[in-house]
């Protein structure tokens, strides 16, 4: 297996200075020392999994730049750049574009600037299909355009719970035919689509979904989550995965966790194109 390659951003400027999701409150600012400690522990765990880590330079006025998952959707040599719904995050786009270009990607943008799309936060491959979350942050129409640009099947899923505003907070592909899912974050259509499209769905309980259990980083059989998801870890072990946990509460204050802090540059393991299956 080629070395997994992950893009991260140091939390040097991470903080809660605006509120753009229900997790955020300016009354609960980040503890910079603790945040740095937690981020380094995650980085260390990924290195232990054999991953290569690339970094995007932190920027003073962009506290959420640390959430690299939102930079783009990666497909082979192409990265379709995010266009953030909230102006507070739109400044991140140029830094991600520059860094991804530097990393050798052909960086593309959506053909329409009136549509929003928040990268791998809302678009995850499982098998041949790109599952795409919409309504909260990304637009369904943007996903259709990405499907056309990449020539892949896109199944848009409506997100209905503001606490699970990105697809990667309630859904996590593990392999081309297995995924974690928190069903109440989806409407009945979305749940049915997921059930009909993915053969093995591991359901996450509400209390663990709130601990960002679905916001997991998958490297091979290793699944890394925030602490406090024991039932999920038991299920994962039962299914032959190796769950690991690391405390990420500082980032939960901003509505993110393990997965949000990473962007898999060589493609997620659950993507068939990555495994050479498509």
């Amino acid at each position: 297996m080629p070395q997994p390659h992950i893009l991260m951003c140091s939390p040097k400027h991470f903080d809660i200075v605006y509120e753009i999701n229900p997790w955020m409150s300016r009354q609960r600012r980040a503890n910079p020392v603790l945040a740095m400690e937690q981020w380094r522990a995650l980085e260390q765990m990924l290195l232990e999994c054999g991953a290569k880590i690339s970094l995007v330079a932190p920027q003073p006025d962009l506290p959420d730049l640390v959430f690299t998952a939102n930079a783009a959707i990666v497909f082979q040599n192409t990265a379709v750049l995010a266009h953030f719904r909230h102006s507070q995050r739109q400044g991140e786009e140029q830094h991600f574009a520059a860094r991804l270009g530097e990393a050798g990607f052909q960086v593309q943008t959506l053909p329409r600037t009136d549509l929003f799309f928040e990268g791998a936060g809302d678009a995850l491959f499982c098998g041949d299909t790109l599952f795409a979350g919409y309504r909260m942050r990304s637009d369904a129409l943007a996903h259709q355009l990405i499907g056309e640009m990449l020539g892949v099947r896109v199944l848009p899923l409506e997100l209905i719970d503001p606490y699970y505003y990105h697809l990667d907070t309630c859904f996590c592909p593990l392999t081309p035919d297995a995924a974690l899912i928190y069903p109440p974050a989806f409407d009945t259509y979305g749940r049915r689509v997921l059930r009909e499209s993915i053969s093995q769905l591991i359901e996450v309980l509400p209390e663990e979904a709130r601990r960002f259990a679905c916001n997991a980083v998958v490297v091979g059989r290793t699944v890394i989550t925030n602490v406090g998801c024991p039932k999920l870890h038991a299920s994962l072990r039962e299914s032959g995965f190796e769950p690991r946990e690391t405390p990420l509460e500082e980032f939960m204050k901003a509505g993110g966790s393990a997965k949000c802090l990473t962007l898999r540059l060589d493609g997620e393991d659950a993507a068939n194109w990555k495994a050479g299956l498509s």
């Binding site: 041949d128 919409y134 309504r135 637009d139 369904a140 129409l141 996903h143 259709q144 499907g147 056309e148 020539g151 892949v152 099947r153 896109v154 199944l155 848009p156 899923l157 409506e158 409407d187 259509y189 979305g190 049915r192 689509v193 009909e196 499209s197």
Partner: protein, 430 residues
């Protein structure tokens, strides 16, 4: 791509909205709308909000990666409800057709349009570019629309004239058609929808046509006549000559035959060998039209024949004398033909196209194929009167979308005689 054209799938909710719901908007959605359940979800959302819908078109992708496409007409009984529904379904990726710019694709094969080009109607059409609506010039049915970004101009273009690199409108998004008002109840551009009666009173219709010609002449408008040889055979040539001399005709489209028999009559007093004054058959009269054609071919055409005194009367003579442009379009059964006849069908079509752009009124008399050809070229707002002894000509014209046609099923001679009489009355009126 599997194509289900116009399947007319429709769904009405119980009670509030129905087929008669007055507020309607067309929206499009594409992508993996079937397996993602986006399409059923949109349709459910329309119903849940008290609206109804009709699926106007659906293309279902065959392979896993192929997107599907649906065009849906959303209906509601109030404008507010319609707006709410459109807002709801927009969140699922459906886009109102009129809120998008049109999609343009370059011509990649000379003389052909890109796949899924927008096929025009004869109705007033606009396209949306960068949020602005642009009126399409040279409106004509069965064409494509090309957009010139430099001049910011859109126009209809027949596919055979497509040039590499031209931008052509594809799909229905960003295209707005305003149906021309019509007398019948049904609306829109449609085929197989005509009503022609042989039992309508003719007098009133002829008077109405005369009034139209009279007022167009007074306003400086342009009148086109598309005519068949029966005009000459029935002895009506003199009425046409009168119309030309008195400024009621400004352009003439016909075939070889009308000109040939008109010239035969001028030279020999016969049409297809039949004496027009007595109706008697003349010895060797069947040769007259060939001899007439031959003389014209020897002298080089109608204009030289008039200028050199060989042709001294008749419709074609009056055309030359009164500077009336004419297009004589050839066919494979033509004798001769006359040197003036354009035998390349595309060239003839293109000359006729150019000759219809400034026309305000069109009289089609006793010709089926030329009438249909010209009907195809005219925009819906040009009034057309079609006079034929055979009702099927008028029906055919209507069935091909030229529904602005008023049909008059009658013999040509009494029609033209009555028309000239009515015009003389109008001229004599104080």
């Amino acid at each position: 791509m599997h194509l289900l054209e116009e399947p007319s799938m429709s769904q009405d909710t119980h009670g509030s909205s129905s087929d008669s719901a007055p507020f309607r908007e067309v929206a499009e959605v594409s992508g993996h709308i079937i397996d993602s359940l986006i399409l059923p979800k949109i349709l459910d959302a329309i119903k849940a909000a008290g609206g109804s819908f009709q699926i106007l078109k659906i293309d279902v992708g065959q392979n896993l990666a192929d997107p599907s496409f649906a065009r849906i007409e959303v209906r509601a009984d109030t404008e507010e409800k319609l707006g709410k529904i459109i807002k709801t379904i927009s969140a699922h990726g459906a886009t109102p057709v009129l809120k998008q710019d049109c999609r343009l694709r370059p011509v990649d094969v000379e003389g052909a349009f890109p796949e899924s080009f927008y096929a025009t109607t004869n109705q007033r059409t606009e396209i949306r570019v960068d949020g602005e609506w642009i009126l399409v010039d040279d409106q004509e049915m069965d064409c494509g629309i090309v957009f010139d970004a430099v001049q910011n101009r859109a126009r209809c273009l027949p596919m055979c004239e497509a040039v590499l690199g031209q931008s052509v409108v594809v799909g229905h998004a960003g295209v707005r058609v305003t149906p021309h008002e019509r007398n019948t109840q049904s609306a829109g551009f449609e085929f197989m929808n005509s009503a022609v009666s042989t039992e309508k009173p003719k007098g009133a219709a002829v008077r109405e046509i005369a009034r139209s010609l009279f007022s167009i002449r007074r306003a400086g408008g342009k009148i086109l006549l598309v005519g068949g040889p029966a005009i000459v055979h029935t002895g009506s040539g003199e009425y046409l000559s009168w119309l030309i001399r008195n400024g009621y005709l400004h352009r003439l489209f016909a075939g070889n035959a009308l000109a040939v028999h008109d010239i035969e009559q001028a030279m020999f007093g016969t049409s297809l060998g039949v004496r027009l004054d007595s109706g008697g058959i003349v010895e060797a009269g069947h040769e007259h039209h060939l001899r007439a054609i031959n003389r014209l071919r020897r002298i080089g055409g109608i204009r030289p024949a008039v200028e050199q005194g060989l042709l001294t009367s008749g419709i074609m003579y009056e055309c030359v004398k009164n500077n009336i442009d004419y297009v004589l379009a050839g066919s494979i059964r033509d004798d001769g033909p006359l040197p003036d006849v354009v035998t390349d069908a595309l060239e003839a079509q293109s000359l006729m196209r150019a000759g219809t752009r400034d026309i305000d009124f069109c009289l089609m008399i006793a010709t089926t194929l030329h009438s249909i050809a010209v009907g195809n070229l005219l925009p819906a707002w040009v009034k057309v009167v079609c006079v034929d002894i055979n009702p099927s000509t008028v029906i055919k014209l209507n069935d091909r979308g030229s529904f602005q046609t008023t049909g008059l099923v009658t013999d040509v001679e009494p029609f033209l005689r009555a028309l000239v009489e009515e015009l003389k009355l109008l001229e004599a009126a104080p």
